[in-house]
């Protein structure tokens, strides 16, 4: 297993900068994460499992995680209403670094300085959504049908 490449005539370029395995149907609390990937939020030292959800408008972080991040998430622009699969919630948009973790020997981590909704009402998993996060990175999933290893590939859009 290795990186993904793009080929144009005889030139090959790295498409992905890192990759790691991911979990499917992982249960967390009351919730089931269809695709769970590992990430680090802000400068937190621990690693979290997050739901990768291309259908989610925004990434979402719960109140406890925000409490650990403390001042790092910066001021809020005021609360907004958001529709989630758990119903309507209130939350505020903040800018934060989220790092996707590559496994050893599988390239490099990728940090995205993006936008998340911080909601104290949210008791679900950390969600990585499209707006403010996925819209400027490459992602690909190999479901591991042939070699039984599920792999999440990622890379920056800009060189």
């Amino acid at each position: 297993m290795g990186h993904l490449f793009t080929r144009f005539h005889k030139n090959c370029k790295n498409w992905s900068s890192g990759f790691a395995s991911f979990l499917t149907s992982h249960k967390q609390g009351f919730h089931r994460l269809s695709v769970a990937i590992r990430c680090r939020i802000g400068s937190m030292e621990e690693i979290d499992l997050a739901l990768l959800d291309t259908g989610a408008e925004w990434s979402v972080i719960d109140g406890e995680t925000a409490e650990i991040l403390g001042d790092e998430i910066g001021p809020s622009s005021g609360e907004i209403n958001i529709d989630t699969r758990l119903g309507k919630l209130r939350g505020a948009l903040h800018r934060v670094d989220i790092t996707l973790l590559a496994e050893e020997g599988c390239g490099r981590d990728l940090t995205v300085n993006g936008t998340v909704i911080v909601s104290k009402e949210w008791d679900g998993p950390i969600v990585l959504g499209y707006r403010g996060f996925m819209e400027r990175i490459r992602i690909a999933l190999d479901p591991g049908f042939l070699d039984d290893r599920q792999v999440f590939y990622f890379g920056p859009v800009d060189p």
Partner: protein, 188 residues
């Protein structure tokens, strides 16, 4: 759909900007009109470049509310941005903000900051260890920690607690936080 198309799909709450952009690109390639203009919900837009950086607004805009005339004070601008964001018109909110100078108000500058497109950078190394051991530990032991947070590192339990914040605090104090993987164990 040549000339100045009126995109009816913009009113549908089920269309998001991503899907709308694709339709505009198709049309843009075929559109031979010189001024590259389209109308949406009573407002006209003229583009000097490809429209995929200016997606179709979803939120209906009244003809009288053209940008730069009725939005001179910060409160109205902020209300408009908030409404666009809540209705899913993120691209439109970004475009709207691009018309407004920096420094109108701190809150608007904050909106500009949080709605800016994300930036990515590759780090110098990989820091994610293989988590097969952690996954295996969860399969065998998680039933003992129902409704709790557990912290694992390479299949070793570092600690558990009902509160994530408290578990974080304890591990930090013990110097065991780096590389710890946090899981919320399944509830019954």
């Amino acid at each position: 759909m040549k000339g100045s198309p009126n995109y009816g799909y913009a009113d549908s709450p089920y269309w998001n900007d991503r899907m709308a952009i694709r339709v505009v690109i198709d049309d843009w390639e075929n559109d031979e009109s010189p001024n590259k203009r389209f109308d949406c919900a009573g407002e006209s837009y003229t583009f000097d470049q490809s429209p995929w950086s200016y997606p179709v607004p979803k939120y209906p805009i009244k003809a009288s509310s053209s940008i730069g005339t009725n939005f001179r004070d910060g409160v109205h601008i902020e209300k408009r941005i908030k409404k666009l964001v809540e209705s899913g018109g993120i691209s439109e909110a970004r475009r709207f903000l691009s018309f407004i100078q920096c420094g109108v108000s701190e809150r608007i500058d904050h909106w500009r900051r949080v709605l800016a497109k994300p930036r990515s950078r590759s780090e110098k190394m990989a820091t994610g260890a293989n988590f097969e051991k952690d996954a295996s530990w969860l399969v065998k032991n998680s039933f003992k920690y129902k409704d709790q947070w557990v912290a694992l590192n390479q299949g070793l339990l570092l600690g558990s607690h009902k509160s994530r914040v408290e578990l974080h605090r304890r591990l930090k104090k013990a110097g065991k936080l780096r590389g710890a993987m946090f899981f919320k164990v399944e509830q019954e």
